[in-house]
Each structure stands twice: as structure tokens, then as C-alpha cells.
């Protein structure tokens, strides 16, 4: 089974990396970009074949390791079983 976890900073949390990238893009004349938010992405391969069990496991993993609930949100997506 293949799955994907997206981890992004919560809306109200300051994203210094995103801000710096926007400034850089403007210096490179990509003036149309108004905002950039930077985040992390993880592709996982699991031995698990049962979809619900896999989802439950990934929910825990995301909460404990991939994301820091205090400042980050996460999205889980099963790509193929």
C-alpha cells in the first residue's frame, strides 16, 4: 500500500520560509505571486493491505511524529492499495 501525508503550518502560525521565498520570487520578477506557504510531504509504503487499519495507523503516526499538533496540521491520502 502507498500513501501520502501532507504537513503544513497552521493558518495563524508565522511562516518565515514562505515569506522569504515570496521576496525572492518578486526579485526574480515573478510579481504575480502574492503568497507562498512552505510545508513537508511524505510518501509512505506500508505492508498493511486493510485500508481502514492503514488509515488508523497513519493517523497516529502523523499525530506523534510527522506533524507537531501545536503548530502544524496534516492531511492523509491513500494513493493505491
Amino acid at each position: 500500500m502507498k500513501a501520502k501525508i501532507e504537513v503544513m503550518l497552521r493558518e495563524d502560525i508565522f511562516d518565515p520560509q514562505g515569506k522569504t521565498i515570496v521576496n525572492a520570487l518578486h526579485h526574480m520578477d515573478y510579481k504575480s505571486v502574492s503568497n507562498v506557504k512552505a510545508g513537508k510531504l511524505f510518501y509512505l509504503e506500508l505492508q498493511e493491505t486493510n485500508k481502514d487499519k492503514a488509515l488508523k495507523q497513519m493517523e497516529e503516526m502523523a499525530h506523534e511524529l510527522f506533524a507537531n499538533p501545536v503548530i502544524e496540521n496534516y492531511k492523509i491520502e491513500i494513493i493505491d492499495l
Binding site: 497552521r10 495563524d12 502560525i13 508565522f14 511562516d15 518565515p16 515569506k19 522569504t20 521576496n23 507537531n68 501545536v70 503548530i71
Partner: protein, 651 residues
């Protein structure tokens, strides 16, 4: 934001609210409640520690600036050395990476706001149970936070401590010290004065970071639903590096009257404290504050703890030049208010007055509390050593001590810090009890170290307070340096509990006594109280940071043995004192016994002797006997030098 919610968030007691109402003769606006909450918090107002702080020695022959400014300053020749230690315990318990990173950012700004270029960071870290998942989580986050932030700004982390004791499990201690250097005539005070002068804001835009930070810094954490603030303060080390260079450029060009960083309680504390020092009034215009988040309220602007922001007081004629500097360093800036002669702090939003409070009342009349003192019941029981059976040989016990994480090499920590940048550090961080940094272009070097001992202070608060000062000064003396100044970080439980207040009062008394004996002034520091989880306080811990000078660093020594055939001697008296030792803790599983005694008169002579022996090159290395005792001290010197050592006990 209702008045009731503001009062709840402010952490002010009903009595304190009434005091403010009586003084102003009217009800408080939501913004005013927030401002009182911030400035009358423990963090900014020292309301539980002020009476005790007053008794500390604050004068010394090398002192240039004592407590009351952003950082303390001592001087050598025409150089000024600014330094201070601060705690970021609560934010680091909630979010270790950002908590530690913003802790570094804040203390750096305190130093360069004085006009000094930061040249070193020291991190004094205390964690809980050695093998708990929570400790592993905190250790990883906190060390990463300090490493990423310090490395990015280009300030070397050169020394510090990493200590593991079960009593810190719910409340890690993250005390960060910064040392900076400037020519004496470049040192600047954080004042706002001169009617019509401008309040010039520069650095990052303001968002809703860490709202409630100042009041939160002294709030007790409960372990079930950790009291997570809605938005944690996030650090941007890149912008910090820009405001550092921009600030030093403003000072180089003599463009400002005073500067302060926006630390806890952001715009409120910086503007009011600057006005207080200049004995003037100020008027702040909320509409001018550069905003990062949409439709923020005045309350949020006033209390936001967005990082990497500075406030300067400048003459209108300098505005153009200041904006030019900010343009070069690509930093946001704006005039957000001006100095008035009204002796009041006035806050306006599109013309409407939201706050109007006498500056002196906000700063000088912080209600402070002499709490009731009660000798802790545990002291009797802890003083007696429980019977224990040591089923290990001496060798096995020594190996146990040497492999204990509190003793073993800290290379796994400092190799994550760029401790070499700025090319001033003269020896590897492990080579001595502290760090020695050369002053380029001179023969002199600055010695620096941090020390603290929660176990001793737990067993005997006043002697524990003395030991912390004596040990940090001893570490400097063992490099050949005389201590010029001391800064301190008070990490204690809830002061409203009389047993905790006993620990606090006695430890500070001991610290003051040791400083007087050493003739070394306390130049400032900070207090972090309410370090408790579910009613269990941490070990009472004063972290002391010291700076000193070695006149000729070519003669300085480290702890490593130098040559075969050298004789090894012990200075001072070796007494049968294993109370509070790591050895005893391992043997009987808890902190017990009488805290080792400390004769300050002998200590002062001993340190003077060590310094003289080093300056005359009579000795090749020196090491203080501390954690793990004499056997560990000998092993450390041997391991550092790759040589062996043989000792005859009977001498």
C-alpha cells in the same frame, strides 16, 4: 474581547485590578487590562522577587551598567562586554523547537539592543527522566531549535550544561545566555525621551504570535491538557541576522537615542519601559503598526509577541537615514508613535484613545509580594542518608559515573552547534569548565561559563545558592580569569506556596552572600516561577552565568593534562561529604544527605591562588572538582589529554 475575558487572560488578581481602577479613577479598557497584565506579570514586574532582588550586590570595580537595562555591562580597557541570561522554560515545554529558538532570539536582541555585537551563546538545559519518551522529544526539539537559530544568525554556542534529573520531567529548563562586545563609547541605553521624537519600529511585521506570552511565561502547566497557547511564537533567524546588522549600523551612524527589543508583551513592554527610563510620556498609533495578519485588534497589536522586532527612539531629522538602512537590509519599518511630555502612555486607534495610563504607575507601582516563608518539611528527611548497599566495585561505580549522561562527554550536543564561527573560541568546548574567546587585536580574552545545582539547592537552599556562584567563578578561575560580573536565572516552583518561597528567598540570599564575598556584582537576569506540574515543583535551580577576563590568553590553561611526569595536586580540603552527590543518588536512588559545606573566605583565596599560579605559568592545567567528585575530575583531565594518571590516596 470582553472585559471578563481580558481580566482572565491578564492573570491579574481582583485586588490588582482594583488598585489600577482606583489610581485611574475609572474602569479599565480591555487594552489597559492587557497592558497592566503584561507589565504587572512576574516576567516583567518581578512582583514575587523584587523585594529579594533589592538585597543583591550590584556594584563592582569593572561594572559599566547594572540591572535595569536590556543587559548588564562590564568593561575592560576601552571595551564593553554586555551579557545576560534568560529563561524560555514554558514555551519550550509546549513547543520545544520554537520555544528554544525564540529563547535564543530574545537574548541576542537584548545584547545587541545595547549596541554590542553578540559573540557567544551559552545554553543551560535541564531535562527530566533520562529514558522517557517525553524527554527524548524535548531534547531533540530544544537542541535543534538552539542549533538552527544560533547557526543561522552566526553566533557560536560555546558552552553550557545539559543535566537530567527526574524532578524536571514536566518542566524542562531552557536558560540561554548571550555575551556581546562593543567599544565602550558605543554602548546605548533603552530610553525614549525628547518631546516630538519618534518611536521607530523595525523588523518583522506583527502577527498573533504567542498572545498572552508574558502572562503565560509565569503560568503553571497542567499535564493533562497542556495549556497550549493558541499561537506559539515562531522564530525567523534570517530576519534576526538582518536586524542585528541593521541595528549595529544605526548605532555606528549615531542615528538613534535609544533602542529596545520587543520581548515578552512586545510593543507594550518595550515602549512603556523605554518611556519609563526616559521619564517621559509616549503616544502610540495602532494604525501605523505593520501587520502580518488581517484585522487584528488593538489588544492583539499591543500584546503580540511576534519575534524579531525592535523599537528605536529617533529624532525626526534622522528618519530618512534610518529608513535608508532598513531599505538596505530589506526590513519592514514604520513610525508608530512619538514621545510626549504628558508623563502618560497613550494608545490611539484611528484617533480614538484606547489607553491613557501614567508611565510611572505602570512601572514603579507594580504590587509586589513578600510571601510567607516556611521551612520545607522535606529538608529534615532528605538530610539523612538512607542505608544503601553498594554491590559494585569501585571500578564499576566509576564507570557508571563516567557513562552517566550528566557526566559523559557533551560532544553529541555541541557538535550540532557551529561553535567556531567568528573565529574567537580558543579551545574545544569540552576542554574547560567554560569557554575562552579572544578579543581580536589584543592579548586579552573573555572567559564565560554557566553553572547551577538543583540538587544542592534542594538539600540546602542558601548553601546551594552560594555553590552556584562559587562554582561558576571557580570555572573561570581554572582558565586563569577573574570574574567581572554575574547574571542569574531563577527557576522555581509556585512562590505562593510558603515552602517554595523559602527555597527562593534562601537561595537568593546565598547567591548574594557569595557575590559579596567574591566582590562580584549581579548585573541582571530573570525569574521563571510557577515551574510545577500537577503541584510538584522542580528542583529549586538558580542558573548563574559569569563573564571574566584573562589578561594574556597565551597563558590561559584548560583541564587537559599536558605532559608526562607532571605532578598532580589537590588545592582545598577534601572532606567526607557525599551529600547531594551523583554517586549517592546512584547508590540509594534519591537526592539525599547534607549539602557540601562552602567556606566562602577560603573559596575566595583559593580562586585568587589558582589565577596567580596560572598567570605565573606555575601550573599547566586546572580543573574544578564538581559533579562526580575527585575521581571523575581526574578521569576527565586524563581523557582530554589521552594520558594516564596515578594517584596515591594516602597523601
Amino acid at each position: 474581547m470582553t472585559e471578563k475575558k481580558a481580566i482572565e487572560l491578564s492573570g491579574l488578581s481582583p485586588a490588582e485590578i482594583d488598585l489600577a481602577r482606583k489610581k485611574l479613577g475609572r474602569n479599565l479598557s480591555v487594552e489597559e487590562i492587557g497592558m497592566f497584565g503584561a507589565l504587572w506579570s512576574e516576567h516583567c514586574g518581578y512582583k514575587n522577587t523584587k523585594p529579594l532582588i533589592k538585597k543583591l550586590p550590584v556594584t563592582g570595580k569593572h561594572l559599566l551598567q547594572g540591572p535595569g537595562e536590556n543587559a548588564g555591562v562590564v568593561s575592560v580597557d576601552d571595551y564593553a562586554i554586555a551579557f545576560k541570561i534568560e529563561s524560555h522554560n514554558h514555551p519550550s515545554a509546549v513547543e520545544p523547537y520554537e520555544g528554544a529558538a525564540t529563547g535564543v532570539g530574545g537574548i541576542l536582541r537584548d545584547v545587541f539592543a545595547m549596541g554590542a555585537r553578540p559573540i557567544a551563546v551559552l545554553d543551560s538545559l535541564r531535562f527530566g527522566k533520562r529514558d522517557s519518551a517525553r524527554t527524548r522529544f524535548l531534547v531533540g526539539g530544544i537542541i535543534n531549535g538552539i542549533s538552527d537559530y544560533g547557526n543561522r544568525v552566526g553566533i557560536p554556542t560555546v558552552a553550557g550544561e545539559v543535566v537530567f534529573e527526574d524532578q524536571y520531567e514536566g518542566n524542562p529548563l531552557v536558560n540561554v545566555m548571550c555575551v556581546g562586545i562593543a567599544k565602550k563609547d558605543k554602548i546605548i541605553k533603552a530610553t525614549a525621551k525628547g518631546k516630538g521624537n519618534l518611536l521607530f519600529y523595525y523588523g518583522s511585521k506583527t502577527g498573533r504570535d504567542g498572545l498572552g506570552g508574558a502572562t503565560f511565561a509565569s503560568a503553571e502547566l497542567s499535564s493533562e491538557g497542556e495549556d497550549k497557547r493558541p499561537s506559539v511564537q515562531v522564530g525567523d533567524a534570517f530576519t534576526e541576522k538582518l536586524i542585528l546588522e541593521a541595528t549595529l549600523e544605526l548605532l555606528e551612524k549615531k542615528l538613534v537615542i535609544g533602542i529596545q527589543d520587543m520581548g515578552a508583551a512586545g510593543i507594550t513592554s518595550s515602549s512603556v519601559e523605554m518611556a519609563g527610563r526616559g521619564n517621559s510620556g509616549i503616544e502610540i498609533d495602532i494604525d501605523q503598526i505593520p501587520a502580518r495578519a488581517a484585522n487584528m485588534s488593538a489588544y492583539e497589536f499591543l500584546l503580540s509577541e511576534s519575534q524579531e522586532r525592535m523599537l528605536a527612539c529617533i529624532e525626526p531629522s534622522r528618519l530618512e537615514a534610518c529608513m535608508e538602512v532598513m531599505k538596505k537590509w530589506e526590513l519592514d519599518c514604520a513610525v508608530i508613535g512619538r514621545v510626549t511630555d504628558s508623563q502618560n502612555v497613550v494608545v490611539k486607534e484611528n484617533g480614538k484613545v484606547l489607553a491613557d495610563i501614567p508611565t510611572r504607575f505602570l512601572l514603579d507601582e507594580v504590587p509586589f509580594y513578600e510571601r510567607e516563608v516556611k521551612r520545607p518539611a522535606y529538608l529534615e528527611k532528605a538530610a539523612s542518608i538512607p542505608p544503601y548497599h553498594l554491590n559494585k566495585t569501585n571500578n564499576e561505580m566509576l564507570k557508571d559515573l563516567l557513562s552517566d549522561v550528566n557526566i559523559a562527554s557533551k560532544k553529541w550536543v555541541y557538535e550540532r552547534y557551529d561553535h567556531m564561527v567568528q573565529t574567537n573560541l580558543l579551545a574545544q568546548p569540552c576542554a574547560a569548565g567554560g569557554a575562552l574567546l579572544r578579543i581580536k587585536g589584543t592579548s586579552k580574552a573573555i572567559a564565560m561559563a554557566t553553572d547551577g545545582n538543583g540538587r544542592y539547592t534542594y538539600l540546602n537552599p542558601s548553601v546551594g545558592g552560594m555553590q552556584a556562584v562559587a562554582e561558576v567563578a571557580r570555572n573561570l578561575a581554572c582558565m586563569g580569569a577573574e570574574t567581572y560580573g554575574i547574571t542569574n536565572c531563577l527557576n522555581f516552583g509556585n512562590p505562593e506556596k510558603s515552602e517554595v518561597y523559602y527555597q527562593l528567598a534562601k537561595a537568593m540570599e546565598g547567591m548574594g552572600k557569595a557575590c559579596k564575598a567574591l566582590n562580584v556584582p549581579i548585573t541582571g537576569g530573570n525569574a521563571s516561577l510557577y515551574n510545577e506540574t500537577d503541584g510538584e515543583p522542580i528542583l529549586p535551580t538558580i542558573t548563574v552565568g559569569a563573564v571574566g577576563i584573562v589578561d594574556n590568553y597565551k597563558k590561559a590553561v584548560t583541564a587537559a593534562f599536558q605532559k608526562e611526569g607532571h605532578l598532580v595536586g589537590l588545592l582545598g580540603i577534601n572532606k567526607e561529604e557525599i551529600g547531594g552527590s551523583l554517586y549517592l543518588e546512584k547508590a540509594c536512588g534519591k537526592i539525599a544527605g547534607k549539602c557540601p559545606s562552602l567556606d566562602m573566605e577560603l573559596e575566595v583565596r583559593l580562586q585568587r591562588l589558582i589565577r596567580e599560579l596560572i598567570s605565573k605559568s606555575f601550573i599547566a592545567s586546572a580543573q574544578d572538582v564538581s559533579d562526580g567528585g575527585l575521581s571523575v575530575a581526574l578521569c576527565e583531565s586524563a581523557i582530554l589529554s589521552g594520558k594516564g594518571v596515578s594517584i596515591r590516596m594516602e597523601e
